[in-house]
Amino acid sequence: MKLTGAQILIKMIKAEGIDTIFGYPGGAVIDIYDALAKQDGLHHILVRHEQGAVHAADGYARANNSVGVALVTSGPGATNTVTGIASAHSDSIPLVVFTGQVPTALIGNDAFQEVDIVGITRPCTKHNYLVKDVTKLASIIKEAFHLARSGRPGPVLVDLPKDIQNTQVAFKEPKEISLKSYKPNYKPNKKQLNKVVDLIGKAKRPVIFAGGGVILSQASSDLTRLAKMADIPVTASLMGLGAFPGSDPLWLGMLGMHGTYRANMSIGHCDLMIAAGVRFDDRVTGNIEKFAPEAKIVQIDIDPTSIHKNIEVQCPIVGDCKAALKGIIQLMEDKNPEDFKNDRQQWLNRIEEWKDTTPLKYEQDSVVIKPQFVIEKLYELTKGDAIITTEVGQNQMWAAQYYHFNKPNHFITSGGLGVMGFGLPAAIGAKAACPDKVVVDVAGDGSIQMNIQELMTAIESKIDVKIVILNNQYLGMVRQWQELFYKKVYSFTHMENAPDFVKLAEAYGAKGLRCTRPDEVVSTLLEGLNYEGTVIMDFAVDREESVYPMVPAGGAITEMLLV
């Protein structure tokens, strides 16, 4: 069977079980778009900016536990994907990004819309390819998907010169991928697992610290099981929210710079930390010297570079989180499981005390809407079952603090890179993956403007997303830092000059709702959530509300600013 490169590409994407891709046409991918128009089964969503395509693919991958795919043209199309790729790289999200390239004969000649995208994305992809031989195309695509989803997942870019796309070759099914230089270690070392079981047996004040790796390896049920078996309280990084039920009594809340007081204090005083699928980001650890000073640390990670990178650990386990947690549970079951709950009450009481004295709090009066109140009501009205995407800044932190995630894959945020403009396209991707879910983008008035053009994508593709803008007319998180650390010099963080978001929504064909009074928050949310279609809910919130608690950058996580 003879196929063009473009047809091979589509065939191979379908073979990976992908039903939807996100893209934007251009001269260097016109052959692929021609082939797309002449096939069934692979749905293409036309975005309005290539950055949006990559974030949407990211949201799709996370909501679906699959690989996200973006397709863009050469030159500016390709460079526009860089932020999205870097974000997915930071968060270990499996993506395959296909970029068009000028014909192989022109590469290096500074041709129209030529950039060395393989060179540009080398440091922010897991791996990347420039395809120079169409007979290798099928196996490269298969390899790209394999790399994206296996081991520590990540984005892979495949650069496709125009002549590769339109050359016909006899299609041969590529062989199973076997790379001599890439063999991720899934199976944890049994001796190390036994060591963990011993440590749990001896620990008086254990804590589990879950990260995005738990969600990626679909290990949240195992993590929950382990926590319950030994009555171990659980905290999580921003990326780990949903790995453990947010309504469970053993849940401590998020850890780190804007973590809960009890989560940070628990880490400060624990004698054993079981860290699963985390990389000890500085936003979590604060001052490394004062991070978990009394604890023996167990770290489970599939990526050996994550271990001993920022934090010295006493019991490293290289392997898949799910396999490791299952292994630990099995070993505990082989012994007397009751032995592992030794006198936990004292430790749990102490945590309860931290919770009682310093809970997350805000005071809602009858005049000005508090942003936290909006999120809390959103949580209640969606029964905690919505997929929440966020932009970056205060909106992201309030969503993390006040929406309690009971299930994995329901909180989709640009955690590592912190990309403003992530939430709306990611929500579109998540909704495309899970059409039956309510998908809400929690946004700020600043960040929603960074990829607002994707509203048109949502409308055109009839992808119904709900946008909640916590509108404080500031770049709120930077303003908060300026208030606390820069003597209230609010340099360029004013955002009074903003579009009328209601009219803007209407201009795109979406519904726009504005809410300025606390007693209208619930009715506005209800109207927006019940509306069939994409809607912007613009909440005018307390302008100078800040996110608390807060650990100043570089401080010990137990030394928090509480109000």
Partner: protein, 173 residues
């Protein structure tokens, strides 16, 4: 903290962009490369990179793991604390005025070097050896007036019984 010098022998896929991935990893993460030499091996699609890097002891573990994480890196062998043979090749062009010629020849003889080019007023000397030998001859020739030096980075192979290098060539099984 104290920095040490480490000698890494890295086998990589012989394909375009691999060196750039490695050098990009070093510059992106703030690691240093002291010297680097790349060439093909007996295996057709495999190249060997020999690298000398100076860093603190806890950094070398990260360097090795990060290198290994690159998809095109097949093995990373830290030779630093192993038995190995190491060589570095240098060409040294030195002023050879008639009154100094005998001195230069004596040095060449003592160090078992070769003179590979002779001009009216210069010699070009080929030196092969470890970096100490290299440093020593440079310091002795310096007073004569070194015109220019071209030098390779270190190359090295583990001694043991050549295990590391033979495993990949598929010989001596």
């Amino acid at each position: 903290m104290k920095t040490n010098s480490y000698l890494l022998s890295i086998l990589v896929d012989d394909e375009p962009g691999v060196l750039s991935r490695i050098s990009g990893l070093f510059s992106g993460r703030g690691f240093n490369i002291d010297s680097l030499s790349v060439a093909s091996t007996a295996e057709p699609d495999v190249s060997r990179i020999t690298m000398v890097t100076k860093c603190e002891p806890h950094i070398i573990e990260q360097i090795k793991k990060q290198l290994h994480k690159l998809i095109n890196v097949i093995t990373v062998n830290d030779l630093t604390d192993k038995k190995y043979v190491q060589r570095q090749l240098a060409l040294i062009k030195v002023n050879a005025k008639s009154e100094k010629k005998a001195d230069i020849l004596r040095i060449v003889d003592i160090f078992r070097c070769k003179i590979v080019d002779v001009g009216l007023s210069h010699y070009t000397i080929e030196v092969s050896g470890d970096s100490e030998k290299h440093d020593a001859i440079v310091s002795l020739l310096n007073p004569m007036g070194i015109i220019e030096i071209a030098s390779t980075g270190s190359i090295a192979l583990a001694r043991e019984n050549g295990k590391h290098s033979l495993k990949l060539t598929g010989k001596n099984k």
